[in-house]
């Protein structure tokens, strides 16, 4: 989940500016001025100097254009050239994160540091207990030799003055699968054989140094300038992100230029019925528990890190894919666009090849801001389907999938469910344990983001708002309230 901060602001401002330039047909003329305009000489620089700030912005723009920053060949290539290339679409190679090395402040190599609270005591428990002889006392203060330190933390525990501080590296700390590490220069590098695109590194870095590769320019250019006909497929979590009625949100999405807007909740209904069927067969055949499969980050986690759990993962396709199939039936010639809060969906879309673009909720907000579309003034859409049951929209919050399955089964079936709310080091351990010894439960729902999609990395609203907004919009769209289990 993202806590709003200035790095987030910068990202959104860049998106808005790019869309505005494209919309006013000034992209090639003005894109190289963006860093200058956003970081004028008159402001006090965020980093060492204004030039560094501008360089950082340049690379962040490259990411917003969809490039992998490490692929830069010539530092002098203007953004204009990149923009020209981006307009025609860039192959992501299935990797959707890129490290803005210029922005990465290369956080500490060693996590422990002696603060000035050190009293230079006689006991010197830090020194005595250090297994690597990494501590020397210089001028009455302890000192950690970074070449010797192995980050064991014993010195910190031993110091009675709490004089040794632990300095985390936020991206590494937040990555549940150890996919991000420093290279020799101290810059973070992502190992895509391990990465599950959960987006936690991206939202945790306060320098905004980990960027997602966006398709926004390619998308908007195709829509506006190449007159491609498009269908928006809106994830239920999007309805939780704005302070307006769902009707308005969907209308405002249509106003961007889509031919038709569909709710992914339509597909969620199919996912539910298929997954329920699968679960019943699973139980009948005496196989142990079944897990959900709609979170692409979780599916990737099993694939890459807990392969023994694979037989347990449901084969039912995600709501997005069922919605896409429906859309293709009705609109075979249109390009499909998924709009949601998820980074891992970019990967799922890349792998499954049914959908053309993924736009995050954050990018949707930026589109509206850039194009001056105000959802509160639009409620003309006919898009809200009366046939969608509230449980399907409830997929957006943790517990929603189980709830939907239980509601389908009705009261007479005795099915036990468990929720793994958020993928972190602890829950991975648990899943590994389950792959060896099955727990006594029929169905496990796993969500990579704590709280579910309403706390996805591509969201706008603070976590506290998402759930109440979602409940509100579900209630507003369907007669019976109280349908999420949270």
């Amino acid at each position: 989940m993202t806590y709003y901060n200035n790095a987030v602001r910068t990202k959104r401002e860049l998106l808005v500016r790019l869309i505005q330039l494209l919309d006013s047909e000034q992209l090639y003329d003005k894109i190289d001025r963006i860093p200058l305009e956003m970081r004028p000489r008159t402001n006090s620089p965020i980093r060492c100097c204004v030039h560094k700030d501008r360089a950082v912005l340049k690379y962040k723009i490259m990411a917003s254009l969809g490039f992998n920053i490490a692929d830069e060949v010539d530092e002098l290539t203007p953004l204009k050239d990149y923009a020209k290339e981006a307009i025609n679409g860039i192959d992501s190679n299935g990797k959707f994160l890129t490290v803005v090395d210029e922005a990465c402040s290369s956080c500490v190599q060693v996590n422990y540091t002696v603060s000035n609270l050190c009293q230079g005591c006689e006991g010197r428990p830090c020194q005595v207990n250090c297994p690597k002889d990494a501590i020397t006392v210089i001028n009455g203060k302890a000192n950690i030799d970074h070449h010797k330190c192995v980050n064991c933390g014993l010195c910190q525990k031993a110091c009675p003055f709490h004089a040794i501080a632990y300095l985390p590296v936020p991206c590494e700390e937040s990555c549940p699968v150890k996919a991000i590490k420093k290279n020799e220069q101290g810059i973070e590098v992502i190992d895509f054989d391990k990465c599950i695109h959960c987006g936690k590194c991206m939202t945790s870095c306060p320098f905004g140094a980990i960027a997602e590769k966006s398709q926004i320019l390619d998308f908007y250019d195709s829509l506006r300038n190449k007159n491609r006909k498009m269908i928006a497929m809106v994830a239920p979590a999007v309805l939780s992100q704005f302070k307006t009625k769902s009707q308005n949100i969907l209308s405002a999405i249509k106003a961007i230029g889509f031919d038709h807007v569909m709710e992914v909740a339509e597909g969620a209904a199919i996912t539910t019925s298929n997954e329920t069927q699968e679960l019943l067969e699973h139980i009948e055949e005496g196989k142990s528990f079944l897990t959900s499969s709609c979170c692409p980050s979780y599916v990737d986690l099993v694939e890459k890190h807990v392969p023994a759990l694979k037989p347990q993962v449901s084969h039912t396709a995600s709501p997005m894919l069922f919605t896409a199939a429906k859309a293709k039936e009705q609109y075979p010639e249109h390009d499909l666009v998924f709009i949601g809060p998820c980074l891992a969906k970019r990967k799922e879309v890349y792998d499954t090849k049914k959908i053309k673009y993924v736009i995050t909720t954050e990018e949707l907000g930026s589109l509206w801001a850039a194009l001056h579309i105000d959802p509160s003034k639009l409620d003309t859409i006919d898009g809200i389907s009366g046939n969608i049951n509230p449980e399907s929209r409830g997929f957006a919050a943790s517990g929603g999938v189980s709830h939907s399955i239980l509601a389908t089964l009705g009261a007479d079936k005795n099915i036990s469910t468990q929720l793994i709310d958020g993928i972190d080091k602890k829950s991975i351990k648990l899943l590994k344990a389950y792959s060896k010894k099955a727990p006594r439960v029929d169905f496990i729902e796993v969500m990579a983001c704590q709280g579910g999609c309403i706390n996805g990395p591509g969201n706008i609203a603070p976590p506290s708002l998402g759930l109440s907004n979602l409940k509100k919009s579900i209630a507003e769209l369907s007669p019976e309230p109280e349908l999420i289990n949270a």
Binding site: Y4, R9, R12, E13, V16, M38, Q241, F242, K243, T244, E362, G365, S366, W368, A369, H372, I373, D374, P375, S376, K377, I460, A461, P462, S464, L465
Partner: protein
């Protein structure tokens, strides 16, 4: 007895303000200190048009307190402003 409303807070709900931090302002009510809570009214208003001006960066989100514009608003900033006023 209900206290009179001393502060009328209007939060810009235009999209630009909303994505530039305005989303967090919707929890303002919960962050108001008890002593002024009852004398504050909060409402959302449509885009005030500030986002159309050149050099609009770093102005969002915008909030009006008794008609006076607070740029780059945060819950913290608003509360501080309110407390300043009450001391006078």
């Amino acid at each position: 007895m209900t206290k009179p409303i001393n502060f009328k807070i209007q939060i810009c709900c235009g999209t630009m303000c909303y994505i530039m931090g305005g989303a967090s302002l919707h929890s303002l009510k919960e962050t108001l200190p008890a002593e002024i809570k009852d004398s504050v009214s909060i409402e959302g208003i449509p885009c005030m048009g500030l986002c159309n001006q050149p050099d609009a960066e770093h102005q969002h989100p915008c909030v009006l307190i008794n008609g006076e514009i607070i740029k780059n608003a945060s819950n913290h900033k608003i509360v501080k402003q309110l407390l300043n006023h009450t001391e006078l």
